[in-house]
């Protein structure tokens, strides 16, 4: 029962008991005091009745009797002296003879008593009679005296006797009447008293009944209220039982008095295991006692406490709850209970963690992702600034990872990444970070460095990791990485600068070959900017006619005659000035502009070739370089075919120079393109032979006609034995395979002579002519034709 209902009850009961008690007290007091008063009066009356009236009457009657006696005796006495006496029978004779003196004495004394009583209880009612009695007594005494002296006075005596008799009788009667009245009054009093008493009792009863009735009404109201309250409680209980959160109700000692069903299922504990147990709120040591104390203090203070609690279920499973503690107030504002509402947020928390995790960590490798990495980077930077230390940012890119993904599938690629990530983690220290930026790019953060040199061992070991082969799904493969390094504060003082610079460094590393790391330097920065500038300028350069083609004549070594030319692209940009092909070709490749530029080159060169063909009847061959990117264009073969047709040039006057890079991708469409071109009759030359992978199988697989020796080898023929032998071997091999050989970069006579000796058929180089304009070549050819004509004559 709540305190307010208890208070209600107590108040009601107090009220009515108080009312009844006070009522009865008052009535009782009235009754008792009245009774006492009346009793006194009654007693008085009774006393008078008995003492006065009764006694008086006794005496009076005795006096009257005495008078009668005297009369009787007297009549006899008188008759004695007369003959009538003989008529009176014997039996009527008085016992005693007349003795006036003694009779008078009796009379006297009796009357005296009466008078005495009258004096004791004076009453005006009797005064007259008493007076007469006294008078008559005196008369009688005189009559007696006279009679005693002389019997002749008998009539006087008789008169005196009757004269006394009357007032005595009267007084006796009056006494009797008064006594009757007194007694009547007494009984009336008593009746009245009992009436009053009954009245009081009735009042008391009535009041009692009314009080009780009112109390019953009040009780009924209270009960009705209570029933209603109970009903509401029942309804709310049901609600609480049903709601999908845990509800616990405790007393002020934090001992549970009620738990709902949800609590049971959430905690695994049944209600009877929890009720009445102190600290039943918390079932595990996960929640520190300080928190528990804090909760209790907050509650005792009348405030609510919200927070997360970590608990253990009965079966030992941990779970997390979002708890809301609140005190429960009674109607008079006192804190009677505490209540807790708890929601199991274990799942939610897990999901939150998962989301957080996903937000910060890479799904595949479990490494921090870009977001977390950048966050850590800024942390490292501010710490480094404070501690005056250096931070290293390493961009790690897996070389040719795309090739693996394409050839071996994404599953293998993923496994590779995971393995790579593992290896990388092993390299770094505890406080450092390895993160996956995406794709095959990783970022490593090294903090707490004192100099840039501190990075070296780490960079080294990173790269070292990739010297070992990866064994995935039974395959062994070598993966290499390019690492770009940027240092704070040397290479930038903010995250974005550092990132950009590390990225640039990485690209630089890539360019330097495989499995290297490269530090960012300033001219790399410039390089990047330059690259961007080139890109920018390249767009629309073709439309602006900034491209032009120069041709380097190819010489037949047997007769030192120009038999063809290699078309080379030149770009003259107003902003950038002359940009070397080594610079802009890769950019053209990356941007894909190479396709349109290439088409331009093909068109122009073919058109030129046509005119030159007419000049030099021995089938002037035009050689055009094709890049891997051009092969990606599905229209390439179509375009070449159409252009050849349009130009009218015989197909075999076109030679396409293809580097190894084209072939390395292994894409089916390249094979198909090459075959179609070959079918067209176009000649194929392998360019830069010996510089790259130089897979000899390529020479076998594809229908090459010509092999071009790279200038690097040619330049050292006369000095370097190794190069000379290589060149010799290359020529021999090419001849063995039925391929023609073209030597590039012939600069000296000596080189020429050697090549001639070894059987190299063709050559081009500065010795003969640098790349020249079409017009210049035309005039050369004209000269040559003129000379030939002369010689022929």
């Amino acid at each position: 029962m709540s305190t307010s209902i208890k208070a209600n009850w107590a108040r009601l009961i107090r009220q009515y008991v108080l009312q009844l008690i006070s009522l009865y007290l008052i009535l009782g007091t009235i009754a008792i005091s009245y009774n006492a008063l009346q009793r006194i009066t009654s007693d008085q009356l009774r006393q008078i009745a008995n003492d006065y009236h009764l006694k008086s009457n006794n005496h009076l009657l005795k006096a009257i009797d005495e008078i009668r006696l005297i009369e009787y005796q007297l009549s006899f006495h008188l008759a004695e002296s007369e003959p009538e006496r003989a008529r009176l029978p014997e039996s009527l004779q008085p016992d005693q003879p007349l003795n006036l003196s003694s009779s008078m004495y009796v009379l006297d004394s009796q009357i005296e008593q009466v008078l005495e009583l009258h004096r004791q209880y004076p009453d005006i009612l009797f005064d007259g009679m008493v007076l007469r009695i006294e008078q008559q007594l005196a008369n009688l005494q005189r009559a007696v005296t006279r009679f005693s002296a002389n019997p002749q006075f008998a009539p006087d005596l008789i008169r005196g006797l009757t004269g006394l008799h009357t007032p005595l009788s009267q007084l006796e009667r009056l006494h009797e009447i008064q006594r009757d009245n007194q007694l009547t009054r007494l009984s009336e009093r008593e009746q009245r008293d009992s009436l009053i008493f009954i009245l009081l009792v009735c009042i008391a009863l009535l009041a009692g009944v009314i009080s009780t009735w009112r109390m019953m009404k009040a009780i009924n109201m209270v009960i009705a209220d209570q029933l209603q309250a109970e009903q509401r409680i029942r309804v709310f209980s049901q609600v609480i039982e049903q709601i999908p959160v845990s509800v616990v109700l405790t007393d002020t000692d934090a001992s549970p008095i009620y738990v709902n069903k949800n609590f049971e299922s959430a905690s695994g504990y049944q209600s009877d295991e929890i009720l009445g147990k102190k600290s039943g709120l918390i079932q595990s040591c996960y929640t520190p006692p300080t928190t528990y104390r804090e909760i209790l203090e907050t509650l005792a203070d009348g405030r609510t406490w919200k927070g997360e609690l970590h608990n253990l279920k009965k079966n030992g499973d941990p779970y997390v709850e979002d708890a809301h503690f609140a005190p429960v107030f009674s109607d008079d504002g006192a804190i009677e209970h505490y209540m807790v509402i708890k929601e199991d947020i274990t799942l939610k928390k897990m999901q939150e963690e998962k989301i957080l995790r996903q937000a910060h960590y890479d799904n595949l490798t479990d490494l921090p992702n870009r977001f977390l990495a950048l966050d850590r980077l800024s942390q490292h930077l501010s710490e480094a600034e404070r501690k005056q230390e250096k931070v290293a940012l390493l961009f790690l890119d897996l070389d040719d990872f795309k090739k693996v993904n394409d050839t071996l599938g994404h599953d293998t690629g993923d496994k590779l990444l995971i393995e790579a990530a593992e290896r990388l983690i092993h390299v770094v220290r505890h406080g450092d970070t390895v993160a996956r930026l995406g794709g095959d790019e990783f970022i490593i953060l090294l903090s707490g460095l004192h100099s840039a040199a501190d990075v070296l061992p780490v960079a080294d070991s990173l790269v070292e990791q990739f010297r070992r082969s990866f064994s995935i799904d039974g395959r062994e493969m070598i993966l290499t990485a390019s690492v770009g390094i940027a240092i704070y504060p040397d290479d930038g003082d903010n995250a974005s600068d550092l990132l950009r610079n590390a990225d640039s460094a990485m690209y630089s590393a890539k360019e330097h070959g495989r499995n290297v790391f490269s530090f960012f330097t300033e001219d790399m920065n410039q390089k990047v900017s330059r690259r961007l500038a080139l890109e920018e300028q390249m767009h629309g350069a073709l439309e602006r006619g900034e491209f032009n083609i120069v041709y380097q004549p190819q010489i037949d070594l047997s007769d030192e005659r120009i038999i063809g030319a290699e078309a080379l692209l030149r770009w003259d940009n107003p902003v950038l000035e002359q940009v070397l092909p080594d610079e802009f070709i890769p950019i053209a490749e990356q941007t894909g502009l190479i396709v349109t530029i290439g088409e331009y080159v093909i068109e122009q060169a073919l058109a030129q070739a046509v005119t030159w063909n007419q000049l030099n009847p021995s089938d002037f061959t035009i050689a055009i370089n094709l890049s891997p990117r051009q092969f990606r264009d599905p229209n390439l073969v179509q375009f070449i075919t159409e252009t050849i047709d349009r130009s009218g040039l015989p197909a075999d006057c076109l030679e396409l120079e293809i580097t190894e890079g084209v072939l390395m991708s292994g894409h089916a469409y390249i094979d198909e393109a090459i075959n179609r071109l070959s079918k067209l009759g176009v000649e194929l030359a392998m360019d830069d032979f010996g510089t790259g992978y130089s897979s000899l199988s390529y020479l076998q697989t594809y229908p090459f006609n010509t092999l071009k020796i790279d200038r690097g080898f040619v330049s050292d023929i006369t000095e370097d034995t190794a190069d000379r032998e290589l060149v010799n071997a290359t020529i021999a091999m090419a001849h063995g395979l039925g391929l023609k050989v073209v030597a590039e970069g012939v600069e000296t006579l000596g080189q020429l002579q050697h090549l001639k000796t070894k059987g190299c058929e063709f050559a081009q180089g500065n010795y003969f002519s640098p790349p020249i304009s079409a017009d210049q070549l035309t005039s050369l050819l004209q000269d040559q034709a003129a000379n030939r004509a002369r010689l022929d004559r």
């Binding site: 009535l27 009357t166 009757d180 009547t184 009053i196």
Partner: protein, 295 residues
């Protein structure tokens, strides 16, 4: 809660008031009684009444120093009404009349004659009547005196029932109420009724003064004695006047010639104090006969 306390206080006050008024002795009217009105029972003719009571009234006037007036009443009821309305201060009432007045309000009995203690009634028949006993008079016409008369109706009826087991309405052919004792005697003498009952004292006085002759009527039966007749006053009459009246009556002495005249006219030798207790038995009889209802 407050309401209860108010109610309680009111109840207490009410009870106290009730008790107070019950206890309260009647406040004496301070009205002057310069003239005392006297009323007597019209059980005889007015002349007779005057003859009987004038000397008494004069005597009382002398004794008290106040003037007295005899107020005539037409019948017993009228007298009762006058007395109740305090138009009569001192009344000479029959027993039943006294009881009736006492039933209405407080009357104080003052004095009675000595003969009033032992009153009787005579059952009268005509001298010529052959009836020897009351039982001989069955189915004969019968007359009471006044309906309110103790000696003319109440006690005779009581004794008829008690001693003879006679219910008049059943036994007699006719039951009349003459209204006065002398009238009853005349009815019997004149033969209008066979039987009548009248105040024995009045009958005796009628015989004495010749209104009735010895040959006119015969007394067939005398009732046992009972109390009757009383001089009574209102309770409102001041006590000193009451005392004066009481003394005056009681002082009447047969030995005194003047007094003797007064006394003999009223048929008394001496007056005695009267109390209500004297009429207890009468009251019981009246109640048993269901007569004690005020008209």
């Amino acid at each position: 809660m407050k309401k209860f306390w108010y109610a309680l206080i009111a109840a207490v006050l009410g009870v106290t008031a009730v008790i107070y008024f019950l206890l309260q002795a009647n406040v004496q009217d301070q009205s002057l009684y310069s003239v005392i009105n006297v009323g007597v029972l019209p059980d005889e003719s007015m002349d007779q009444l005057n003859y009987r009571y004038s000397p008494l009234i004069e005597y009382l006037s002398q004794q008290t120093g106040r003037s007295f007036e005899l107020v005539p009443a037409t019948d017993y009821n009228h007298l009762l009404t006058l007395f109740i309305e305090q138009k009569v201060d001192l009344a000479y009432l029959g027993g039943l009349t006294f009881l009736q007045s006492a039933a209405q309000q407080n009357v104080v009995p003052l004095v009675m004659r000595d003969v009033d203690m032992r009153f009787t009634s005579y059952f009268l028949v005509d001298q010529d009547s052959r009836a020897q006993d009351l039982s001989d008079l069955k189915d004969m016409p019968f007359s009471f005196g006044s309906e309110l008369s103790t000696s003319g109706h109440l006690m005779p009826r009581h004794f008829l029932q008690l001693n003879h087991q006679i219910v008049p309405e059943d036994f007699f052919s006719e039951v009349r109420y003459s209204g006065a004792h002398d009238k009853t005697a005349y009815l019997v003498r004149d033969g209008q009724v066979e039987l009548g009952v009248a105040n024995s004292e009045i009958v005796r006085s009628m015989l004495r003064d010749g209104r009735l002759g010895e040959q006119d009527i015969r007394i067939i039966w005398e009732t046992p004695p009972y109390p009757d007749y009383v001089w009574a006053v209102h309770e409102h009459l001041p006590a000193d006047i009451r005392l004066q009246l009481q003394e005056a009556f009681l002082q009447l002495d047969s030995n005194d010639d003047q007094h003797l005249d007064i006394l003999s006219r009223m048929g008394a030798r001496v007056f005695l104090p009267a109390g209500i207790g004297d009429f207890q038995s009468l009251r019981q009889v009246a109640e048993s006969l269901d007569i004690l209802t005020p008209n």
